[in-house]
């Protein structure tokens, strides 16, 4: 029997790291997937001097891939600066999990978007960006455009 999932995916799925809602987060992001209707929330505690992510947690309403990528992304982001964390890609997350089924690539994109959205929220609250871009359905679909064909994967 081979699951479509790697050992790492199953491990993070069974024992997700850094889970749960955070009290008084410094930054908070909530993203939804237009492809399958799932959601990811990411919460951050940021050191205002170094801009290092000192604490991070997530919530997921999604499939095993989604839970696992969100979990691994919190591990990847913790201890990084906001600028470094912004650069984490869904591919890095998927690689850290030993790979994801093609049809599930969008789940990892969703998790990455959750993290970026939390960072953006922090930056907006701290006057680090001028333009505030509302997270509308169109914005989400735009970001997810390259993964919107779930049958073909990426």
């Amino acid at each position: 029997m081979t699951f479509p999932y790697t050992k790492e995916v199953l491990e993070h799925f069974r024992n997700p790291r850094n889970v749960g809602k955070m009290e008084d987060p410094d930054g908070k992001g909530l993203e939804g997937s237009a492809a399958c209707g799932d959601m990811v929330a990411v919460y951050l505690k940021v050191n205002p001097d170094t801009l290092v992510i000192e604490d991070i947690s997530f919530e997921s309403y999604g499939c095993a891939s989604n839970i696992a990528t969100a979990s691994v992304i919190t591990e990847l982001a913790k201890g990084k600066t906001l600028e470094e964390a912004k650069k984490i890609t869904w591919k890095e997350a998927a690689n850290a999990l030993g790979g994801l089924p093609h049809v599930k690539a969008h789940c990892s994109v969703l998790a990455v978007e959750g993290l970026r959205s939390a960072i953006r929220d922090y930056e907006e609250k701290h006057g680090m960006v001028v333009e505030k871009e509302a997270t509308t359905t169109e914005v989400v679909s735009k970001r997810l455009k390259h993964v919107m064909n779930p049958m073909a994967g990426l």
Partner: protein, 389 residues
């Protein structure tokens, strides 16, 4: 070779019954000839007898004549043949109008959608919140140009039974042919074509512990229908292809093995799983009808959590169940059935179907809820939707 599982996905397919295989063996190893030539040799006649005996068993369970049963390769083929065969036969006689319900399974639904694209007129009739057909909308949709109606007897996901008596009476009154997909209901709930004016019925073996690769189509005598599977003259020249006699014999045996007592046993498992889920787990919604449903089917939504995550956890604990979640399906589309009864994506996402079969026990109903309690609690703990839990 494989691990022990508590299998609660009998609506998808079932374990073969050993008795069914035993019934098939003489046709694998002794009377393995083809049955086409009655002027042929003895082994072919033995084979043919096996085939015709099986046809009778299936016919009589349905209140039909043996000659009204055509064996096919399965439900999918039966429904393709029924719809395409009747529309082809009526071409030019009635207008190309087809009526189906929104909850039909893919063989009927996707055949209807394809025909729609090809220029047929197709109406998809709504159902209410329990999955029951809107009889007024249905009745109004029928016109003098309607060639065929196809409404399932029972739903594959939420188990809701349609009022086939009312539906067939309407069709009969309006002089329109009626096909019903009885894939899940045949032998599980009554259907007697000598009493109800249903013209075509799709049946399947592998949903009742019979073999895969065999199904049947009841065709009321006199129903206009063209051949769809072209080739040889088998099945009284209605369906070509070597007769799958071992499987037909297995199908008949599978039918004989379904008893009213078994159906009561299944209903008890169904009721227990619903009752226990409602009692032990908060935020649960029953999908489908509380009163008019298949004995072997239950379907509930566990809110704020996603079905694929649940099924994967359950799998690791040794349970096999399925979900209407978009994430579970290859196409990433949420169940059209849950959406069809007015549910939103969230309701489809967290829906689980528990379907029972001969090899389940009432303990399985308890075991799955015991397991599910923890799984749902843990997943809700990480769900952004489940704020108030």
């Amino acid at each position: 070779m494989f691990n022990e599982t508590i299998y609660l996905d009998n609506a998808a397919s079932t374990r073969l019954d050993e008795e069914v295989l035993e019934a098939m063996k003489p046709y694998f190893f002794d009377a393995y000839a083809v049955a086409t030539s009655e002027f042929g040799y003895s082994m072919g006649i033995d084979a043919k007898e096996g085939l015709e005996r099986s046809r009778k068993v299936i016919a009589s369970r349905l209140g039909a004549q043996a000659g009204e049963i055509v064996f096919t390769s399965g439900s999918t083929e039966s429904s393709n043949m029924a719809i395409k065969g009747v529309l082809s036969a009526l071409k030019g006689k009635k207008d190309d109008h087809l009526i189906v319900s929104r909850l039909e399974d893919f063989p009927v639904l996707n055949t209807a959608k394809k025909l729609d694209k090809q220029g047929y007129k197709v109406d998809f009739i709504n159902v209410d919140g329990e999955g029951v057909l809107d009889l007024d909308m249905f009745s109004d949709a029928i016109t003098s140009q309607t060639a065929l109606v196809s409404i399932q007897q029972a739903n594959q996901e939420i188990g809701t039974l349609q009022d086939l008596k009312a539906i067939s009476d309407i069709c009969h009154d309006k002089n329109v042919l009626l096909h019903t997909d009885a894939t899940h209901s045949f032998t599980r709930v009554p259907l007697d074509v000598s009493k109800l004016p249903v013209d075509l019925v799709t049946m399947s073996a592998h949903t009742i512990h019979g073999p895969r690769g065999i199904g049947a189509l009841y065709i009321r005598e006199g129903t206009p229908i063209d051949k769809w599977m072209d080739g040889g003259f088998q099945e009284s020249d209605r369906r070509a292809g070597v007769e799958n006699i071992p499987a037909a014999v297995g199908f008949a045996k599978a039918v004989e093995l379904v008893t009213p007592e078994e159906n009561e046993r299944l209903a008890a498992m169904r009721d227990r799983v619903i009752e226990r889920a409602m009692a032990d787990i908060p935020h649960v919604t029953l999908n489908g009808s509380a009163t008019s449903r298949l004995p072997q089917n239950s379907n509930m939504t566990f809110h704020y959590v996603e079905g694929e995550s649940i099924t994967l956890h359950l799998d690791m604990m040794g349970f096999a169940v399925s979900t209407g979640s978009a994430c579970f399906s290859r196409s990433l589309e949420a169940s059209h059935v849950i959406l069809g009864i007015g549910g939103d994506h969230e309701r489809a996402h967290g829906s689980l179907r528990f379907s029972f079969g001969r090899f389940n026990t009432i303990e399985d109903s308890d075991a799955i809820i015991d397991a599910l309690k923890d799984v749902v609690t843990n997943l809700r703990a990480i769900s952004p939707l489940a704020e108030d839990n």
